[in-house]
């Protein structure tokens, strides 16, 4: 892979997450083979690539749901490759899911609170009696969730609603809220604007930018909406068939011929259709 590309990225901050020669296969299928890239602290990094390129698998490997065959994941200078998902979550790796994974039996508020699970200490005995620590912790959590997260994402009006009944766009927002409640240092978003129209995408883009700028949280996201990716990300990594085929600043990647042929396509659909039509 070209060193030139790497050097060209402008960030000077240190990498908060480093993926090092990661390989992962399912039976005979190699979903990832020797993927390496870095996410710099305070950046928005986008992971793009064709369907089935291994983006979600990459997220799953980083958050510990899949066990890579070889390679390392280094978070904040420490190798976390052997850790179970919950302890990675506790370190500040938070994520949302490609297919919304909210807990339908809970209210919005409880879903958000759940994000804090790993940071709370209440044990079963405390919980049964709801005295002392349990009570104190719950009150603090409630206040923080209300005042920081719910206000920020503008979902006050639905906090006692049960998530199942919410429209899709709001559900995605609740997922984001839950991830924020995890006290993330890095937030991984899997297709945050899939299925949204232009207007809703604008809202979500605003939240993502604010999370980065006001909360200082690093963002790694997978997204197929090139308009948004190119506009808001600082660094783009392109995967194809489980391998990195390009990375760099959005503008660089956008014009990379390999990326165009594997992923972006000609970009002018209407014209092409008219062309085939004529043929």
């Amino acid at each position: 892979m070209s060193d030139g590309l790497k050097r060209s990225s402008r960030e000077t901050a240190s990498p908060i997450l480093k993926v090092d020669a990661l390989s992962l296969s399912f039976g005979g299928l190699r979903a990832l083979s020797g993927v390496s890239f870095e996410v710099r602290e305070g950046s928005i990094t986008a992971l793009i690539g064709p369907n089935g390129a291994g983006k979600t698998s990459m997220f799953n490997a980083i958050s510990g749901f899949y066990r890579p065959n070889t390679g390392r994941i280094i978070f904040d200078g420490e190798d976390i490759s052997r850790e179970r998902p919950p302890s990675r979550a506790k370190r500040g790796l938070a994520r949302t899911f490609q297919n919304i994974a909210l807990f339908r039996g809970m209210t919005v508020l409880d879903n958000i609170k759940l994000g804090r699970h790993a940071h709370l200490k209440t044990n079963v005995l405390d919980a049964l009696f709801y005295r002392g620590r349990a009570h104190r912790e719950e009150m603090e959590l409630r206040a923080e969730v209300e005042e920081r997260i719910i206000d920020f994402l503008e979902i006050q009006h639905i906090r006692h609603a049960s998530v199942g009944a919410l429209p899709y766009g709001l559900q995605k927002r609740v997922e984001l809220a839950r991830a924020l409640a995890m006290r993330p240092r890095i937030l991984m978003l899997d297709e945050p604007v899939a299925g949204m129209n232009r207007e809703e995408t604008e809202d979500m883009a605003r939240f993502i930018l604010d999370v980065k700028e006001e909360w200082g949280i690093t963002i790694l996201m997978v997204e197929h909406d090139m308009g948004m990716v190119m506009d808001i990300s600082d660094h783009v990594v392109v995967l194809n068939f489980g391998q990195v085929i390009a990375q760099g600043r959005p503008a660089e990647v956008q014009n990379d011929p390999a990326v165009i042929s594997a992923y972006l396509g000609s970009g002018d659909l209407a014209e092409r259709i008219r062309k085939t039509e004529a043929a």
Partner: protein, 269 residues
Amino acid sequence: MDAEILLNINNVEVVYNRTIQVLRGLSLRVPKGEIVALLGSNGAGKSTTLKAVSNLLELEDGAVTAGQIEFDGTDLATLTPHGLVRRGLFHVMEGRRIFEDLTVEENLTAATFSLSGRGLPITPFDLVYSYFPRLYERRKGLAGYLSGGEQQMLAIGRALISKPKLILLDEPSLGLSPKLVEEIFTIIARINREQGVSMLLVEQNAAVAFSVASYGYIMEMGKVVIDGPVERLVKDQDVQEFYLGLGGGGAHKSYRDVKHYKRRKRWLS
């Protein structure tokens, strides 16, 4: 629109769980041989409209409480969901809904049930494979492990098997890479042209939808707020701003510059 009307939705209202009203008097037409696009924000009721047409609401505790839907001259209320498919109305559902633990080929076989009762022979899947060569390569593999784009191809392929008159397509671009979106829509246009199949297309990606459709409807809160031939819609200022992401004067806006306050859509006021 002088062509023969294949699908005619008239003032339909839909209620879920006997309490939540989603469609509030929606009307819409699909002429024979055309692609009609249906756009709208999340939760506007687009999928609900399609489910009402294909009679699948019952599965989700929904019901059409008013209005009527005609397909090819028949009132749909009298038909069962599978009966409808067998008359040539095929619904490619949101989220693709392929049978994950069946192979690609078995998925196509499942779609052959739509041919019963029409006296149509079950032909080999050549046509599907000719449109989607990639499916041919993976025909023995479990569909659950296909990539998103391949799954979408399979979903459309199943529709082709049924030799339909009308396909309802629910967000075929959802989650697909730009290139695949292009491919799929190219094929959609081809199918429409070569097979003469009409389509009702629900899409979030307005630009793409407009590139294949001839007529468009935009709905909010369960009813149509604006409709017209595609050429006219793309010139509408609100459509440009809220669906195509064009700022004043037709230039693309950047997501970085989006403001917190927003102009209200004209049709909502």
